[in-house]
């Protein structure tokens, strides 16, 4: 993937040039394009933030995947069976690191969800996750509506949620479908087929087709969402991606020698599965999507769409939700005043949030 490919921006109509803004011809260079360099200097100084959440049952290789993505020991990997008890309830576990590459600083926060889908009764196992995501939105909102705001509001909102689908080879399970349905309205979801080395190439393709069909049947809109495609270039690019989603990935954080090269891979008795080899698995696609080309886009959609949706709901229902210290019990005003409809259309999306509970 070409890292300099134009990153699509969400929900932006190309600015209309109304009759009152005539395009003008300049008779010579002025130096306006120097603003790009100024912008670059500014953002390099500020640094970037990225928050990613990995969701899936234990043993699917989430921690290893994160380590492979960022080529470092983000998590101290705990292989199963070494006395680490499986958590009884779903817990969320966040860790933040700062990584730097060629002068670009990235503050990376990874949230893991051990215990997801591991219990006998998995009813509402998505509630803690949704709660966490909304809590981050809430935190940002509270900062934003302060009178004296900070110069740069720290962004802890989850930009991307990677959902690990177990490689059954059949189709999405009810738990997957429930979870994806609820989450794709709140956050950008990228489903991946975990541990894809247990499927052959044909099985992978069949599984992928079936998952895509499942997603379509249940109206689950995963990233990249079709409604946010800006122009024809984005459509073409994103359609190519959408054909390959969910990516079949394999994670590995150990290096082995293959043909004299040192590669990341999994060593088995029947061969070495190279993680970065497109013929073996689609990890490079995932990495390119998440980091090299669509990172900014993920952040933009989170900020411009998901956060705004949350904000609208929150501000409309403000008189019902409890708040912090100093909260005054204000009886809701009599009906007939400020009837803002509860059901609304998300910005450009056809998501109906009327029965969402926060």
């Amino acid at each position: 993937m070409d890292p300099l490919r134009r990153s699509p921006s969400p929900c932006l109509s190309s600015r209309p040039s109304s009759p009152s803004t005539p395009p003008c011809e300049m008779l010579g260079p002025v130096g306006i394009e120097a603003v790009l360099d100024q912008l670059k200097i500014k953002v390099m100084k500020m640094g970037f933030e990225f928050n990613i959440m990995v969701v899936g049952q234990s043993g699917l290789g989430k921690s290893t995947m994160v380590n492979t993505l960022f080529k470092s020991k983000v998590w101290k990997s705990n292989p199963p069976g070494l006395g680490v008890p499986t958590p009884q309830t779903l817990q969320l576990h966040s860790v933040t690191h700062v990584i730097e590459e060629k002068g670009v600083k990235l503050k990376l926060t990874v949230t893991d969800t051990p215990g997801f889908g591991d219990q006998i009764n998995n009813d509402n196992c998505w509630d803690p996750i949704l709660g966490y995501i909304n809590e981050q939105y809430e935190r940002y909102l509270q900062e934003e509506i302060l009178i004296t705001r900070q110069r740069h509001i720290p962004d802890t909102r989850v930009h991307c949620c990677v959902y690990f689908v177990p490689p059954t080879g059949h189709c999405l399970r009810p738990l997957d479908i429930e979870f994806l349905q609820r989450l794709c309205r709140t956050v950008n979801v990228v489903p991946v087929i975990a541990r894809a080395d247990s499927l052959t190439m044909e099985e992978r393709e069949a599984f992928r087709r079936r998952i895509q069909q499942n997603l379509r049947t249940h109206c689950i809109d995963v990233y990249p969402q079709m409604c946010f495609d800006e122009d024809i270039n984005d459509k073409i690019l994103n359609s190519k991606l959408r054909e390959r989603i969910p990516f079949a990935v394999v994670g590995a954080d150990q290096e082995h020698l293959v043909n004299g090269r040192c590669v990341l891979g999994r060593k088995t008795k029947w061969g070495i599965i190279e993680v970065e080899n497109m013929a073996h698995c689609e990890f490079p696609l995932l990495r390119d999507l998440l980091i090299r080309s669509h990172l900014q886009d993920l952040k933009d959609i989170t900020h411009n769409v998901h956060y705004e949706n949350y904000r609208v709901i929150r501000l409309n229902e403000s008189h019902l939700l409890p708040r912090g210290p100093g909260w005054v019990n204000l009886a809701p005003a009599s009906p007939g005043q400020l009837t803002t409809p509860r059901t609304f259309k998300a910005c450009r999306g056809a998501h109906d949030d009327s029965d969402d509970e926060f």
């Binding site: 921006s9 100024q38 500014k42 590459e101």
Partner: protein, 431 residues
Amino acid sequence: MASSEVARHLKRENIRSLTMSGHVGFESLPDQLVNRSIQQGFCFNILCVGETGIGKSTLIDTLFNTNFEDYESSHFCPNVKLKAQTYELQESNVQLKLTIVNTVGFGDQINKEESYQPIVDYIDAQFEAYLQEELKIKRSLFTYHDSRIHVCLYFISPTGHSLKTLDLLTMKNLDSKVNIIPVIAKADTVSKTELQKFKIKLMSELVSNGVQIYQFPTDDDTIAKVNAAMNGQLPFAVVGSMDEVKVGNKMVKARQYPWGVVQVENENHCDFVKLREMLICTNMEDLREQTHTRHYELYRRCKLEEMGFTDVGPENKPVSLQETYEAKRHEFHGERQRKEEEMKQMFVQRVKEKEAILKEAERELQAKFEHLKRLHQEERMKLEEKRKLLEEEIIAFSKKKATSEIFHSQSFLATGSNLRKDKDRKNSNFL
């Protein structure tokens, strides 16, 4: 300097720095961001404040190398008005939506007391519009056309002495709302030695009066040196011209005088190139950022506090914006209901009064009608009586006539039959 700050901040948050064992690939992040900004386009708003005829439009034309508008403003405006025009410029792949706001009639009035107020009001109005958009429940900030003024070019007349009172007053009122860059206009009328003294005098006056003009940022190493040097050259002495004159074997933008040619882009002649460098090539992004993070935040804070919102309540407990908003909403709703009640009462009252008046009128009319009827009756009776009398008289008269006829005919019988026949005939004619 910046990296140590970041490091200290990180230590506070107990965040580890991680070293990567290979190439991950996120050094393309600034490019991703820049690409997105290119798609979104840039927006820059300049406010030009200065007397009529001082060369504002010409300078803007020269700065952006285009001919924006042609006509000259009149000197006879009763008060200061602001005229904004938006243009779309494109250079390679960068699209810039440029808005130029001109003050028409500044310094032309005989009484200049109200000169700066329209400018302050305009700047506040732009902030207000942005604040309104930001406070909306359903908002679209990313498609919002940002009309907040990013920089104010203040044109100082090249008297060579000092700042005028109007200039001082205006700048003092604008410095907390907008980034001010003072420029000496028509600098070709000031000689080099005078220029130095003039600049020093101007800067010392500004400093002693506490006017905060925009300082080019010196915290980033790459541009700190240039900016610091430029800070010492403020205010820039500029000359604007779109006319081209042949100098040597090139056509350059210049003003031709009988005694020589003033070249606009020659650094020895004027500071135009420096202004263009600083304004556009080096600090445009910083100007926008200062406007948003400093001036706009200040406005927002003042406005919200004015409306009664605070971050900290009376017992030093944090008060959320939401609660205050709810309280206000409740208050306004109560107010509105009360007013509605009042109006209803008033309405009912008025209706009653009107009804009473109408009833009165009706009664009066009725009485009049009765009265008229009575009169009419009386008249009629009188007429009836008269008629009766007349009829009686007629009867009496006809009786008399009949008797006189009989008498007459008897007398004829005595005289003769011829005469009788004639008389009969005559009488028969009369009867």
